[in-house]
Amino acid sequence: MGNASRRLSSLAWEDGTIPSIQRAGGVFAKIWRLSFVYIGLICAVAAIGFLLLFSAADGDLNAYAVPQMKRFAVGLFIAICVALIDIRFIMKLAYPAYVGTLLLLIGVELFGRVGMGAQRWLDIGGVSLQPSELMKIAIILALARYFHSLPTREGVPIKSLIIPALLIAAPVLLVLNQPDLGTALLIALGALTVAFMAGVPLRLFVFGAAGAAAVMPFAWTQLHDYQKARVMTFLDPSRDPLGAGYHITQSKIALGSGGTWGRGLMEGTQSHLSFLPESQTDFIFTVLAEEFGLFGASGLVMIYVVMIGLGWIMAGSVKNHFGRLMAAGLNTMFFLYVLVNIAMVIGLMPVVGVPLPLVSYGGTAMLTVLLGLGLLMNAHVHRDVELSRNEGVIL
């Protein structure tokens, strides 16, 4: 990154009004502030995904791989565009986006379409939307803005937590009611990360965890039967080897039979012979683990680890509070996707419908993840921007 461009950009932002020529120059300068290493890692993960989708379709490129490539290209373009939008604009958009997404969630509740046993989808003008996915991002943005604009952001008094609590509770309860326990947990965890990073006292989390443990027995009674079954079969897959335990057992077989080096591309029997149905979506990690073994599986995990590590470094480099809270929240959200998916596939967690980010086949997930990563990069691109507290306050 040259000195000139840095100067140019800092010039542009210290001044409140940005001339159009400078704005253009600003965009050009911002491109150089992007972390190309990070983008490279995104592309690497996606490329591994294409290969696995190619294999999961029995060597048919057009079945999953090509549509996925198109989506990835669009998604990456959007992500980079998002990364270059002025962070102030993002912050301004945080509350409306949250409110909008919440309205969509209520819309799902009222008019939603039932798919896969839960009410998650909303059809708007022929496009299927899953508002709960968008909420994962919106909640982080909203909370980041809230904590950014808090007058006493050093101390974070308890009474100032009432609004965040409401902000979190509303979507979580709505999503729980769909019912989608996994997404609700992810939304809650993402939001709590922002709160934690914003400086909410550690003891509150400790108490919170203790409280959660205390209400567990009650919560258990509120779970739907299929959710209970998932937890039970997770604890003991053999109790229902052909029903709910089937996925866990078959996916463990796929992983284990891959061994150290794997069976080779398209040589995996578990997914190719349909013992693992729908292996192109949530269980795509098994294809990797079976065909490329521990070598391939840990390789992909390592790329994720580097990405997430880099995400923390990027978050840490952001000077404005909103940006780093947003970055930390989104990075954790990304981490949660990876963790929950892989932990589920390798039998460390109950089966919850969480895709492997950037790899699993599916448009909504791909776009949501890239949107989140775009926002993460946005914070990084605008790491040197000073944002005053007042800019975040409503009105």
Binding site: R153, L255, G256, G259, T269, Q270, V301, A315, T332
Partner: protein
């Protein structure tokens, strides 16, 4: 709090959080290592189990052949039609189309639709199992217009020998759950597989069955075969070669002309069972294709017991044929000599009981040859009493009575040769002399099977004076069986043979009327008429009822045992006609004709086939 402090707290918390996340990845890494390295072998095995199915290839069942290689049981190709639902344009429409070519009943239609509903769409469903060739050809010609309809060929057991062989061959049928538990062969669990359920089919089931081949196929989670990985051909069942001559077998059953009974025809030199008839028979093919309840009940309820193999399962009082053994025992004991004569006055008194001779007015003075020839009961009462039951029993056993022979038939009964110990053990009472009288003429406790009687005849007739044992199945490793010497002195046998010669060839002999007069060949033998009811004194006084006047089940059994030719015996026979009446008039002609048939077939050139046993021509 300054911005620096804020940043510091953020950084601190970021490191804490990042650390926790790294830890989580550490757990994932450890788990991957556990699954993919430590437990890899286990999961590799499970994956193979998942993927590979072992499919059995059923072997073709061995044939059953007669001594000349004629097929008695074979496997008939069956032609059928199957349907693969996923390939059709609708199952119902396809059945409609098919119904225009071959008749399809409503039952069949409903079963097919039900089966289609129960199975995966790629599972072949049988529409017709076995159909006429013409109908089959019609379906095949039209197959391009019938997508999803395929022809299927299989095997069905086919019995060619007719009803005369059904008792020997038995039949095949579907295994019961019991069979499946007892026999670990996975073939038994194959749908449609049949095992031997009776007769030789049952006894030699393992040999006839062969060994299943198998193929390893890769299947997907739905069970659809993706490809064949490995194929191991099985071993077809071994053919079973019998000593039976199918022509003689056929003839012997037919010669009964509707009478109920059994006949065994032996080669006296080597014990080969050339014919073993039991009438009436049944159609084994009905069993192979699944017999109807109606037909089954009819067979079970028939008083003439068609399902019973009377030649080895039927226990009959041997009647006067038993006198052969009594005579031999008496000769050996020195009680009967050439000079010894006994007076027959029509009956003999013993302990207040009167034992009658069949000749009401008595035979007069008799020596053993005359007594045998005319079957004088009083003579045999007398000598049996003197010899004693134990010595008679001993001789009977040496001659082959009271034994089960291992000829490969699973269902066999053993005739009863009573003695003192037996009576004590079974009844807890001492043997009565009167019982010896009765036993002396082959009545009372004494019973034997047609096979035992044939063996006794063969032992008497065997030119090498050997203790011949019967054989029904040819062992390819032991074509010519060897026998021990008959433990009866030759001079005794010679006298017995002389007496038997007189029965048929002396004008006073009981079988003279039906003696053999065929190409200067003669036979020897002994008649027997076994009473199955008690004749009261009152009836005797009024005149004993003739057999014709009695209901069938109370008539006498007619028996004859004999051999031919007299001078150089080759064939031995025993004939029992249940409730047939007199042995001399009913059983003798049958026995004679069987012996003639055997001699006839022996005199001409024998049809022999490759692989069939070479008949021992020398005596």
């Amino acid at each position: 709090m300054s911005e620096e402090k804020l940043t510091e707290r953020f950084t601190r918390r970021a490191i804490l959080f990042g650390g926790m996340q790294a830890l989580a990845f550490g757990v994932i890494g450890a788990r991957l290592y556990q699954l993919q390295v430590v437990e890899a072998d286990l999961y590799r095995t499970l994956a193979e189990d998942n993927r590979i199915n072992l499919e059995l290839l059923p072997p073709v069942r061995g044939r059953i052949l007669d001594r000349f290689g004629r097929e008695l049981a074979r496997n008939q190709r069956t032609h059928g039609v199957i349907l693969i639902p996923e390939q059709t344009n609708g199952v119902e429409a396809t059945l409609d189309q098919l119904a225009r070519l071959v008749p399809i009943s409503d039952d069949v239609r409903q079963r097919v639709i039900r089966d289609v509903g129960r199975n995966r769409s790629f599972t072949p469903i049988t529409v017709i199992n076995d159909m006429e060739w013409q109908a089959f050809a019609k379906v095949n010609v039209n197959s391009p217009d019938l997508p999803g309809v395929h022809s299927k060929t299989g095997y069905r057991r086919d019995y060619l020998g007719g009803e005369s062989l059904s008792h020997l061959l038995g039949y095949v049928g579907y295994p019961s759950e019991n069979d499946q538990q007892r026999d670990p062969d996975p073939l038994l669990n194959m749908p449609g597989f049949q095992i031997g359920r009776r007769g030789l089919e049952r006894q030699f089931d393992t040999e006839l069955r062969g060994k299943a081949g198998n193929r390893q196929v890769e299947v997907n989670a739905l069970g659809r075969v993706i490809r064949e990985l490995d194929r191991e051909e099985g071993e077809a069942g071994k053919d079973l070669v019998l000593t039976i001559d199918a022509n003689l077998q056929d003839f012997s059953a037919a010669r009964f002309e509707g009478e109920t009974g059994a006949a065994v025809l032996l080669d006296v030199a080597n014990g080969d069972v050339l014919a073993m008839a039991s009438t009436p028979g049944f159609d084994a093919n009905k069993f192979a294709t699944g017999i109807s309840t109606h037909d089954w009940r009819k067979l079970v309820d028939d008083p003439r017991s068609p399902l019973l193999n009377k030649a080895v399962q039927g226990r009959y009082p041997p009647g006067s044929t038993f006198k052969i053994a009594v005579l031999a025992a008496a000769l050996e004991a020195g009680i009967t000599t050439d000079a010894r004569k006994v007076m027959c006055g029509g009956h003999i008194e013993m302990g207040g009981h009167r034992f009658h001779c069949w000749h009401r007015f008595g035979h007069g003075m008799m020596n053993f040859k005359q007594a045998t020839r005319e079957s004088c009961d009083v003579y045999f009462y007398q000598i049996a009493r003197e010899v004693g039951i134990d010595r008679i029993a001993d001789m009977s056993r040496r001659l082959g009575l009271g034994q089960v022979y291992d000829i490969g038939l699973p269902e066999q009964a053993k005739g009863l040769i009573p003695d003192r110990n037996w009576k004590q053990a079974v009844y807890g009472q001492p043997w009565q002399v009167g019982e010896t009288f009765i036993a002396g003429i082959g009545q009372g406790f004494v019973t034997s099977t047609a096979l035992e009687l044939a063996v006794m005849t063969a032992r008497v007739a065997n030119p090498a004076r050997q203790a011949v044992a019967p054989r029904l199945v040819v062992d390819p490793n032991d074509m010519m069986p060897t026998f021990s010497e008959l433990p009866v002195k030759p001079w005794i046998i010679d006298r017995v043979r002389d007496s038997l010669d007189a029965v048929t060839n002396h004008p006073a002999g009981t079988a003279f009327e039906h003696r053999m007069m065929w190409q200067h060949q003669e036979m020897a033998g002994k008649t027997g008429t076994a009473q199955v009811r008690r004749i009261t004194q009152a009836e005797r006084d009024q005149g004993v009822l003739a057999n014709k006047e009695l209901p069938w089940s109370q008539r006498d059994h007619a028996l004859f045992v004999g051999y031919a030719p007299v001078d150089k015996p080759r064939y031995g026979v025993s004939v029992i006609v249940e409730h047939g009446g007199s042995g001399s008039s009913v059983a003798t002609p049958i026995a004679r004709d069987l012996l003639i048939a055997a001699l006839q077939r022996d005199s001409g050139a024998q049809p022999t086939r490759e692989g069939a046993p070479v008949r021992e021509q020398e005596v």
